[in-house]
Symmetry: C2
Subunit: 233 residues, 2 copies
C-alpha cells in the first residue's frame, strides 16, 4: 500500500530550493505518480525543483474543482500501487483546495497521509501580523457582491470583537482593492487590519494598521497580487 505525501509548492515565482526544505526536495525524485490541481503548473514546479531529466516518465492526474466524487474515488487505485504526491496550485495542498477530499478518502481506507513542510500564506501572514495567534479563524472568501460583503464584514468584525479572534480572509486578486475599500469604509476606526501581499516574494508587503491609520495612507493600492487579509476588532 502506498502513502499520500502532501507536497507544498512555492507561493509565487520562487526557486523551490529556497522555500522548500531538504525533506521535500529529496522526496520528489522518489515519486513517480502525482495528483495535481493543474498539470501545467505542477510540471513547471517539479522542473524548477530539479526533476528536469525524468519529468516525462512521471504520471500526472488532475484533481480540481471540476473533479466529481467518483473521479476522486477513481484515484485510490494509484495509492494501492505506489506512493503518490499531492500538489496544489501554490502553498499547502488540501487546505483550501479539492485535495482535501482525497485525503479524507485515504483516512477512510487506512492509507497513510504524510504532510510535508512548506510555505503557508495564511500562517506566514498571521505570524507577521502581530495580531492574535492564540485565537484565529479562516473562512476563505467573503461574498463577492458588495452589499453582502459589507454585511459579512460587519458580522465578522463583531465576532472578532466578541471572541478576541483574528479573522483571516483571502480574495480573488482583482477584487483586492474593492475589498480593501469596503473595509476602510465599513469597519470601526480602532479595528486592526493586516494586509499581507506577495508573501515570500521580493515585492512582499506586510503591514498592520488600525482602520483609522489606513484611512490616512494616501494613494495606497494592493493591486492584483496574492493577498491575505486579517482583522482583529
Amino acid at each position: 500500500m502506498g502513502r499520500l505525501f502532501l507536497i507544498p509548492s512555492p507561493l509565487g515565482d520562487n526557486n523551490p530550493a529556497e522555500v522548500l526544505p531538504a525533506s521535500v526536495l529529496s522526496l520528489l525524485p522518489e515519486l513517480k505518480t502525482f495528483v495535481v490541481e493543474e498539470v501545467r503548473t505542477a510540471r513547471r514546479f517539479l522542473s524548477a525543483a530539479g526533476l528536469k531529466g525524468h519529468i516525462d516518465e512521471l504520471e500526472f492526474h488532475e484533481l480540481n474543482e471540476h473533479t466529481t466524487a467518483a473521479g476522486t474515488e477513481a484515484l485510490l487505485p494509484l495509492l494501492e500501487r505506489s506512493d503518490v504526491g499531492l500538489i496544489s496550485e501554490a502553498g499547502l495542498p488540501a487546505v483550501a483546495d479539492p485535495g482535501a477530499a482525497l485525503v479524507a478518502l485515504c483516512h477512510r481506507k487506512g492509507i497513510e497521509v504524510i504532510p510535508m513542510v512548506g510555505p503557508s500564506s495564511l500562517m506566514m501572514a498571521l505570524m507577521a501580523s502581530g495580531l492574535n495567534g492564540q485565537s484565529f479563524a479562516f473562512r476563505g472568501y467573503l461574498p463577492a457582491k458588495t452589499d453582502e460583503r459589507r454585511q459579512a464584514l460587519k458580522t465578522v468584525e463583531k465576532q472578532s470583537s466578541q471572541l478576541n479572534q483574528s479573522e483571516i480572509f483571502i480574495e480573488t486578486p482583482y477584487r483586492n482593492d474593492s475589498l480593501f475599500a469596503d473595509m476602510l469604509s465599513g469597519l470601526a476606526p480602532g479595528t486592526r487590519l493586516c494586509i499581507a501581499a506577495d508573501i515570500t516574494l521580493p515585492t512582499q508587503l506586510i503591514r498592520t494598521r488600525t482602520i483609522a491609520e489606513w484611512r490616512k495612507v494616501n494613494g495606497f493600492t494592493i493591486g492584483k497580487r496574492p493577498c491575505v487579509f486579517i482583522i482583529l476588532a
Copy 2:
C-alpha cells in the same frame, strides 16, 4: 533600521537542515541578535543548524510569558541597531506565543517584519486531516477542569456543525489522553476527530475517524507527546 525575521524551528528532535528551507539556513549565520522564548532551546537549535563556530558571539534576549509589556518595549533598541531573529520553542514564532507582542510593536514603529518558511504543526495537522480547510478556527487550549472542558467541547461541536468549521485545539501533553477520553464520551458519534501527534517525527501518527470509530479502537492512547486535535461535526 533593522528588520525582525520570524524564524521557525523544528517541531521536535529533527535536524533543522531537513525541515527548514535554504532561505532560513542561509539567513541564520547573518544574524547576530536573537529574541528567543528560552535561550537554552534556541542555542541548541542554532547549534544543530550549523552555527556551532560562532554561537558564543551571538546575543540572546528572552521574550516569554514572564516578560512584561515594558520588557517587550525594551527590546526595540535592538532593532534600531541591527536585524533580529525571533525564535519560539518549536515551530512558527509569534503564532501562539508571546512573540506576537514584539511583532505588534514593530508594526507600530514601522519596523519591517519578515516571516520565514517552516513547519506549522497546526497547518500540517489540518492538511493531513482531510477535514474542512476552507473554514477552520484555532482557539488554543480548552479549559483544564473536566466540567468546564466537557461544556466547552459541546459548545465547540455545536459551532463546528453550524459553521461547517474545523475546530483545532492543542493540549498540554500530559492531558492528551484525558482530553481524548472526554471527546469520546462527550461528542456525537458522527463527529469526525483527527489526532495528529509527533508531526514531522519518525513516530508521527495522524488519523481521522468518527467518534463512533474511535470508540471501537481498543487500547489506543496518545501518550505525552505533542498533539493537535481537530474536530468537524
